[in-house]
């Protein structure tokens, strides 16, 4: 299986100092021993903060679908990612099966202290630290250090802890593409804590991965149905939501987001000064990788100067406003949005679905293989390079694409491009375009491009 080699290098394990005033010391990873030092301060809601970090740890260590044992072992080593920027501390994690993405956002009201620096890196979450978090009490308070200052690092003179892992390409790709999924979501449901808690408790305890359910608002509150509902939210294997149930009594509200194709859903708990976002893929066995939501933007990125202009504007902002960037760069808002989409799937931006905006962060993995991470895009480029695409008609658009000994037909049917390949037949465009459509529409005359 294709994988990205990655090394976590920590100066010490993360731990909770059990002093009179407990302090959570999160160790940051660095390839060059300049371990980033992002934050020093006190958490205003220690117990809740500990529970949110615990939820990230649970998801990172979870597998809702069981792939090969070897994969499970590798994935178990995928540590969360911390981002400091714009006064927000974000902790992101991804489940071993790649079907659940979680992010805990600590907003400025959740801490009293100093954001020392901006940036992104891996952070060590380990079992003893998790166990120690279980004993955190509001009455005792909780200090938080994300990274350590260089002086303390030197005086510690500790041995570097290094974990080398091969992160499966599927996992890295999913971590990238989940951002573009969120960007296409809109809020479908919102409810108070008690209503949400009762809804979670009414959900089946066993996995429902074989039967998609739609969460809909009914006369008696939220309920689930097997009948597709355009105003509902599709979800499979509701056991993935159980991580939220324990946190629900502390939340102010729950908001649920979904994209129009109902390929993923985002469940956001609002705690006032903190937020927890859980994004679920359409199926537990599918993950987010290969979804191709941003393939079109990526295909056209090479021709677009806007991308480099927008990229130059990235300065660890907690929220990137497309309108503001468009004004500043004198380009259209659509160009900015496309550029952000590309930056999202390139690991250079995350998406905050509650804010409805991207934020700058650089995933701490080797992303030089981005092209390989999008096999359909690479396939489309290969088809174009081989001259396999022939436009047969400009309007309505029709093209033939020779793929091996098979001649596929790509044509415009009621404003949508359809293809004769098995991929398209199976997913009907819900998982993005196939490589034949990607290649064909590159040669499509601009004036005939549909909406």
């Amino acid at each position: 299986m294709a994988a990205v080699d990655h090394a976590y290098r920590y100066y010490a394990p993360s731990q909770v100092d059990a002093a009179a005033q407990p302090r959570l010391r999160l160790a940051t990873s660095s390839a060059n021993d300049l371990h980033p030092h992002f934050f020093e301060g006190q958490l205003t809601a220690p117990r809740l903060s500990a529970e949110l970090l615990g939820a990230v740890h649970i998801i990172v260590g979870s597998r809702f679908f069981i792939p090969g044992a070897a994969l499970a072992r590798i994935i178990a080593l995928a540590d969360p990612v911390v981002t400091s920027g714009g006064g927000v501390l974000r902790f992101e994690g991804f489940s071993g099966c790649c079907s659940a993405y979680i992010r805990a956002d600590l907003l400025p009201g959740s801490y009293d202290g100093d954001v020392v620096a901006k940036g992104t890196t891996n952070v060590d979450f380990n079992a003893p630290m998790r166990a120690a978090l279980a004993r955190v009490r509001d009455a005792d308070g909780l200090g938080l250090s994300v990274g350590q200052d260089q002086l303390r690092l030197r005086s510690g003179a500790s041995d570097i802890i290094e974990k080398k892992v091969a992160l499966p390409m599927r996992w890295v790709r999913g971590m990238l593409e989940v951002q573009s999924y969120q960007a296409s979501m809109r809020k479908r449901l919102e409810m108070g804590a008690v209503q949400a808690l009762r809804f979670f408790r009414a959900l089946p305890k066993a996995s429902t991965s074989k039967t998609p359910l739609w969460v809909v608002a009914g006369p008696g509150g939220l309920r689930t149905t097997t009948r597709p509902d355009p105003n509902g939210v599709r979800v499979t294997d509701t056991s993935r939501l159980r991580v939220l149930e324990l946190l629900m009594p502390r939340a102010k509200s729950l908001a649920v987001y979904a994209d129009d194709a109902q390929q993923a859903s985002a469940w956001v708990l609002d705690f006032g000064s903190m937020r927890l976002s859980l994004v679920l893929s359409a199926e537990v066995w599918r993950g987010f990788s290969g979804e191709g939501q941003a393939l079109r933007a990526l295909m056209h990125a090479g021709h677009d100067d806007a991308l480099s202009s927008v990229r130059a504007q990235l300065q660890w902002q907690a929220s990137l406003d497309p309108a503001e960037l468009a004004r500043a760069l004198s380009i259209t808002q659509t160009q900015v949005e496309d550029a952000l989409r590309v930056l999202g799937v390139s690991g250079l931006a995350g998406f905050d679905v509650a804010e409805g905006s991207y934020f700058h962060r650089v995933l701490p993995f080797d992303l030089s293989l981005i092209e390989d991470m999008h096999p359909r895009m690479a396939g489309a480029r290969a088809l174009l390079a081989d001259g396999a695409v022939a436009v047969m008609r400009a309007a309505p658009f029709e093209a033939s694409v020779k793929s091996g000994d098979v001649l596929h037909r790509v044509r415009d049917l009621d404003g949508e491009l359809v293809c004769t390949c098995p991929w398209f037949a199976k997913y009907q465009g819900a998982r993005g375009p196939c490589k034949h459509i990607l290649a064909a529409e590159t040669l499509r005359p601009q004036s005939t491009t549909g909406s």
């Binding site: 117990r47 529970e51 615990g54 649970i58 044992a69 079992a127 998790r130 166990a131 120690a132 279980a134 004993r135 955190v136 009490r137 509001d138 009455a139 804590a193 008690v194 209503q195 808690l197 009762r198 408790r201 009414a202 089946p204 305890k205 066993a206 429902t208 074989k210 039967t211 359910l213 009914g218 006369p219 008696g220 509150g221 309920r223 689930t224 149905t225 097997t226 009948r227 159980r242 991580v243 149930e245 324990l246 629900m248 009594p249 000994d405 098979v406 001649l407 596929h408 037909r409 044509r411 359809v418 004769t420 390949c421 098995p422 398209f424 037949a425 199976k426 009907q428």
Partner: protein, 900 residues
């Protein structure tokens, strides 16, 4: 070597392996230097690759090559050769480990031997005994890996198989006490190898619990350390099953309050655990500490906050009792206790609400808590809202008015032949390719399958020259498996013939599990070969397999004009797809046509007054449409009883049998299915639906095959639903993962499908089934049937009462399903109340156990929605001879209704 048909040893070593001469192999290896041994490894690997699987395989070529099934001695000899010649990877792959190899470990290089235990640990817990022996004998260093610890976790299994015990292992290796045993509390393990699963399947007392307990008794391990380590593990929030061993072990240790006191902070912290048994342990321990006066009240109140929001009613109850004890010891904490207790109002249990309200009365509350209670008041159960409103001094919420009966009526539902349900014929090649590709990937899309079949037959003359355009589906067709995609495979079979008869032979591997579908494809193939450009008689014109009689009349005339006489089976299939009540226009049309046996049979099917004709298969098919689900006396008089769903409708007998295993009693549903006669004419397709010809039966085991089967006689689905009722009813506890059974239920979501008696039985059974996805679908079907007036509540509820409440008992599941159904539509609460009243009317039958949840749901629905009980229901409920919680629920219900 791989190409040889018979194994020919190329060295003395290989000769001795083949001879199964273990000692000879060792002697040969002794005579070689290390580099010499390495020269053999490539050949040894090749032999191993073939011989090891042949231990179980009956592959004739392999057996011919080796001469016979490999013997244990041959495998041992091969294993020894691999072990001493190969690399670390080869050593870990040796399948047939032989203990005689211990004596020759000196043949390994010193560095290799030193790390051999670690190397063997890496193989997995099953090689742990080898690693442990190497450590005990001082031959190798003790590994430091998690896998080595997993091997120790697994020790009860492998020590037991050698008639030893875990304690024996520790006696031989006292070094385990210095650290490795403590790591049993740190390594979570795998799905198979973890403390909980190893102990669950252990024989006798050779378990870690007993061993550790014994070590504390003999003073070799400290109780205090083990208690603390148990808590430390529980803090890690491992999955419930794995964490369960540690909470049980803590109970086995039974710590005293003195032993627990130093660990108070840990017990307090465990109240936050997401694992319910861990919280239960924490609450029990805190209760003991409180009783012993070793617990600070403020600390306890702080820790109980998350427990008050627990989903586990018993834990909330336990926490309330702890608060009782605190307030009793320190009355000044009453308001603080109420502030915590109000969180329990988020729980859905009316019983819990009642208890919390009682505490509010006793403890009082401050202004902040009052505001919190008022905010949650609308979510408090209707049975308790009046009491809480009175306590708060606010006006009770207005009594709700019953929801108006706004359900849609049957009149608004579509008919099978509505224009919107028509299958639009495919006319363009591009669309045909697209449709075939779609069916190949979506086997359950039987309507699209019918469109593609029709187009392939009609367009056959044009397709022979369109191989290039069809190339995407031709390539895919060859890869389809009939086991998983029988519908797509059937389409592939027709495609293969239509485009080029020569590739038919190459496509023979494309077969379907259903005999009639295969026969139909053969008939369509023959028809397509005529190249008429006409539609075949049996192709559906409307969704679900229906054929519009007017279109069938057109087809019959077109065939006649073309001089074609359709095969008898095709005629039968066409008749079986007619609707039962198509109106008079179709009948008039058939009356004006040439009166062939087919036309006469169509008239008979559509209800016309014609004689039963001479063609038996046609009229036996026609009578199924004329009298769906019923007997046809006229056809019976002419042709006699040819089997179920011939002239006589199939009849099914249902049984429930009791099974006892130790103290467990379970009930299994049985259906005596009618069987078609052996050697029956294959043209009697409706009768053949009752003929179980192979292990898959008529309906197959995929959604596609089930839905296709439902389209064979779309106007008469009783056979289909009887099978569904049996399969779902037999499997209500989901002992077999039959995901495709949802097709039985999903068909009922189509508003044109009538709720036949067996459809109703099936839905009644599915509402109490265990698999949540299937139950969710059953709830949707239940709601749709009632709202669309396709079934009445009396019919469904009576089935539930007879089948399940009377005999099998699934009350809690039914209460949950019906509560969910009540939330689906404003008209549903009244329907569910009616259903509950019918279900609770036990009549002469014994009252089922655990009726409480049904009574609680009934009361809640009555109060929340302002509904009244049907006439006589109150008296019938009052007469129920209940006990325990059900008695309390009955009493509560009757009392509330008296007040109301």
């Amino acid at each position: 070597m791989a190409t040889e048909t018979v194994f020919v040893p190329s060295s003395v070593l290989e000769q001795r392996i083949h001879a199964g001469d273990f000692d000879g192999v060792i002697a040969a290896l002794r005579g070689m230097s290390r580099p010499e041994r390495k020269t053999h490894i490539a050949a040894l690997r090749e032999i191993d690759k073939r011989v090891t699987p042949a231990r179980w395989s009956a592959d004739e070529a392999l057996l011919r090559w080796w001469g016979a099934q490999p013997t244990r001695e041959q495998c041992s000899a091969l294993g020894a050769a691999l072990f001493f010649c190969g690399s670390g990877q080869d050593r870990t792959k040796v399948f047939a480990w032989d203990d005689r190899m211990y004596a020759f470990l000196d043949m390994l290089e010193p560095e290799v031997l030193k790390n051999l235990a670690e190397e063997m640990s890496g193989v997995g817990a099953w090689r742990a005994s080898l690693a442990q022996r190497l450590v005990v004998e001082g031959l190798a260093d003790r590994p430091d890996s998690d896998v080595y610890i997993m091997g120790l976790i697994n020790a009860p299994r492998w020590t037991g198989s050698s008639k030893s015990t875990v304690l024996d292992m520790i006696a031989l290796d006292p070094g385990l006490l210095d650290g490795p045993l403590m790591r049993l509390f740190e390594v979570e393990g795998s799905g198979d190898v973890n403390m909980a699963s190893v102990e669950k399947y252990a024989y006798g007392k050779n378990t870690w619990s007993q061993a550790l307990l014994e070590l504390t008794r003999t003073g070799k391990l400290s109780r205090a350390v083990l208690i603390e380590k148990s808590l430390e593990t529980l803090e890690r929030d491992w999955p419930q099953f794995r964490a369960g061993w540690f909470s049980r072990f803590h109970d086995v240790l039974a710590p005293t309050a003195d032993e627990m006191a130093p660990l108070t902070a840990r017990y307090l912290g465990l109240c936050h655990s997401r694992i319910p048994p861990t919280v239960t342990l924490a609450l029990a321990s805190l209760a003991a500490l409180l009783k012993a006066g070793r617990l600070d009240h403020d600390d306890l109140l702080d820790a109980l906050a998350p427990v008050m929001s627990s989903a586990v009613k018993g834990q909330v109850d336990a926490a309330l009792k702890l608060l009782d004890a605190v307030v009793k010891q320190e009355p000044g904490l009453g308001h603080a206790a109420s502030a915590l207790a109000q969180r329990a109002l988020a729980h859905e249990s009316p019983d819990l609400h009642k208890k919390v309200i009682a505490r509010f009365s006793a403890w009082g509350f401050d202004a902040a808590t009052r505001a919190e209670i008022e905010a949650v008041l609308p979510h408090v159960s209707a049975t308790n809202q009046p009491a809480l409103s009175a306590l708060l001094g606010v006006a009770p919420q207005a009594k709700p008015q019953p929801a108006p009966a706004s359900a849609p009526t049957r009149a608004g539902l579509p008919a099978p032949l509505d224009a919107a349900r028509k299958l639009v014929p495919i006319v363009e090649l591009d669309e045909l390719v697209q449709t075939i590709a779609f069916v190949f990937e979506n086997d359950e899309q039987v309507d699209e399958f019918e469109r593609a079949l029709d187009a392939l037959v009609r367009l056959a003359p044009q397709l022979a020259n369109a191989r290039s355009e069809l190339s995407p589906v031709i390539k895919r067709a060859a890869k389809l498996s009939a086991d998983t995609r029988p519908v797509g495979a059937a389409l592939a079979l027709l495609l293969a013939f239509v485009i080029d008869a020569n590739i038919f032979e190459a496509s023979r591997n494309i077969h379907t599990s259903d005999h009639d579908l295969r026969r139909r494809i053969a008939d369509l193939t023959a028809f397509a070969a005529l190249g008429t450009g006409l539609s075949a008689l049996s192709c559906a014109t409307h969704r679900r397999g229906f054929i519009d009689p007017l279109v069938l009349a057109d087809r019959i005339e077109a065939h006649s004009l073309a001089g074609i006489s359709a095969q008898l089976d095709e005629q039968v299939r066409a008749i079986l797809r007619l609707p039962s009540d198509p109106g008079t226009a179709a009948l008039e049309r058939f009356r004006t046509m040439a009166q062939t046996p087919l036309v006469q049979a169509c008239r008979y099917a559509l209800g016309d007054d014609v004689e039963v004709g001479a063609e038996r298969a046609l009229f036996l098919a026609a009578c199924r449409i004329r009298h769906p689900g019923q007997d046809d006396p006229r056809v019976l008089a002419t042709y006699g009883d040819v089997g179920p769903d011939g002239a006589l409708a199939a009849r099914y007998k249902w049984t429930v049998s009791e099974h006892r295993y130790e103290k467990t009693v379970s009930y299994h549903l049985g259906m005596e299915r009618p069987q078609a006669q052996d050697g029956l004419d294959a043209s009697l397709i409706a009768v053949h639906r009752n003929n179980v010809e192979d292990w898959r039966g008529y309906f197959g085991e995929t959604e596609g095959s089930l839905l296709y089967a439902a389209s064979v006689v779309p106007a008469s689905l009783e056979r289909f639903f009887a099978e569904g009722a049996f399969q779902i009813g037999y499997n209500t506890d989901w002992w077999e993962a039959r995901w495709y059974d949802k097709a039985f239920l999903s068909l009922l979501m189509d508003p044109t499908v009538p709720a036949t008696p067996h459809a109703v039985k099936m839905v009644a059974l599915a509402l109490g089934a265990k698999e949540p996805g299937q139950t969710a679908l059953a709830i949707d079907v239940f709601v749709a049937l009632l709202l669309e007036q396709r079934a009445d509540v009396q019919a469904i509820a009576s089935e539930i009462r007879w089948f399940v409440l009377g005999l099998m008992g699934k009350n809690a599941r039914y209460a949950k399903s019906l509560a969910s159904a009540a939330r689906a539509h404003p008209a549903m609460p009244a329907a569910v109340v009616a259903a509950l009243c019918i279900m609770l009317d036990s009549g002469a039958a014994a009252v089922p156990k655990d009726t409480g949840p049904l009574l609680e749901l009934l009361l809640e629905l009555l109060l929340v929605h302002g509904l009244a009980l049907p006439a006589g229901a109150r008296e019938r409920i009052a007469r129920l001879p209940l006990t325990g919680k059900a008695k309390a629920a009955q009493k509560d219900l009757l009392a509330r209704l008296s007040i109301g």
